[in-house]
């Protein structure tokens, strides 16, 4: 018990919170007080539970599934795949978007509640890759829905996707500072 008291609570608990969104922090014996704006608080909660819609288009989806599974475990970042666009915040477009699928992608995107974000995963979703000039392929999902984060690679590794999600989290927090 004596050892536990020696741990600096400020360092392990209050300091990260302060860095993330606090404007002002006051320490009391046995506790503390943080002042912030609701905008920052909401952004912090949103980025901590990004729920993607369960949605895979091509081979990138295999890497996405690997990122969800136990070895890489996206759950650590609060990322849990939801089976319905109505419960989702983020759409990971993982694979080639065809002209027929583009309408479905647009529809799924419009069914998601605001605020919503899009990650284009892999070179097909970014710009069509070498299917760019094929009759049935959309050259980049950005022609259908607006994209926030681009994750390059063919396909990107699970680490690459995690980096993309971390970048999206940074973007959400930076958006709250304005």
């Amino acid at each position: 018990m004596e050892e536990l008291k020696k741990i600096n609570l400020e360092e392990i608990y209050y300091a990260p919170l302060f860095n993330k969104f606090a404007n002002y922090m006051e320490k009391f014996p046995g506790g503390g007080l943080i002042l912030t704006t609701t905008k920052k608080l909401f952004a912090w909660s949103r980025k901590s539970s990004l729920w993607p819609v369960t949605f895979g288009l091509a081979c990138c989806a295999i890497e996405m599934m690997a990122a969800y599974a136990s070895r890489y475990d996206l759950d650590r970042f609060g990322v849990i795949a939801r089976a319905s666009p109505r419960q989702s915040d983020v759409m990971i477009v993982s694979g080639t978007v065809t002209a027929k699928m583009a309408e479905r992608v647009k529809r799924l995107y419009s069914q998601m509640p605001n605020p919503k974000w899009v990650i284009a995963m892999g070179s097909c979703a970014i710009a069509g890759d070498f299917y760019r000039n094929v009759y049935s392929v959309v050259p980049g999902v950005e022609r259908v829905i607006p994209v926030d984060v681009y994750v390059p690679g063919c396909p990107p590794t699970p680490e690459g996707l995690i980096e993309g999600i971390r970048k999206l989290q940074q973007k959400i927090m930076e958006g709250a500072k304005k």
Partner: protein, 152 residues
């Protein structure tokens, strides 16, 4: 082997690659005989020859009891129709729809002949050799559409 037996019985020619060639006018007769020994339709595919204005339609059947495969081939003109194999093999339904979608070959007596891969209002049949690789109807040509940017 059952393949040799069928070849003799129906008097089919064999190509160098091992395809048995039959006439499209004898379609029902040939299918009825093959169904007895090869109950599983593996796939149907086609090849377009633009100079001859003709298609080769290729069928592959498998025998479930003994490991054996048989390839059949028939040649039809572009404007000709081919009878549907749906009466003998229910699996032919979607395979023939795919051939119709990508090559434009029509199958007689097919229960539901519509496009299966491309949107229903697509123009043309992309796997024909005279189809340009990047031609798409105006509605589905996303190359000409603007790039969307988030406004906030």
């Amino acid at each position: 082997m059952k393949r040799e037996k069928i070849k003799e019985e129906l008097k089919l020619e064999e190509t160098k690659d091992g395809f048995l060639v039959f006439k499209s006018s004898e379609f029902y007769h040939v299918m009825e005989r093959i169904k007895k020994d090869f109950p599983y339709l593996s796939f149907i595919t086609a090849v377009h020859f633009p100079q001859e204005k003709a298609f080769d339609v290729i069928y592959a059947f498998r025998n479930i009891d003994e490991p054996e495969i048989i390839f059949l081939k028939t040649k039809i003109k572009e404007e000709e129709k081919l009878p549907s194999a749906y009466k003998f093999y229910k699996g032919a339904d979607w395979m023939e729809r795919e051939i119709y979608d990508l090559f434009g070959i029509e199958f007689e007596n097919h229960p539901d002949l519509r496009r299966i891969v491309l949107p229903e209002d697509w123009e043309g049949h992309p796997l024909r050799k005279d189809y340009p690789i990047n031609k798409a109807p105006e509605k589905y040509d996303y190359r000409k559409k603007p790039v969307l940017r988030r406004e906030d």
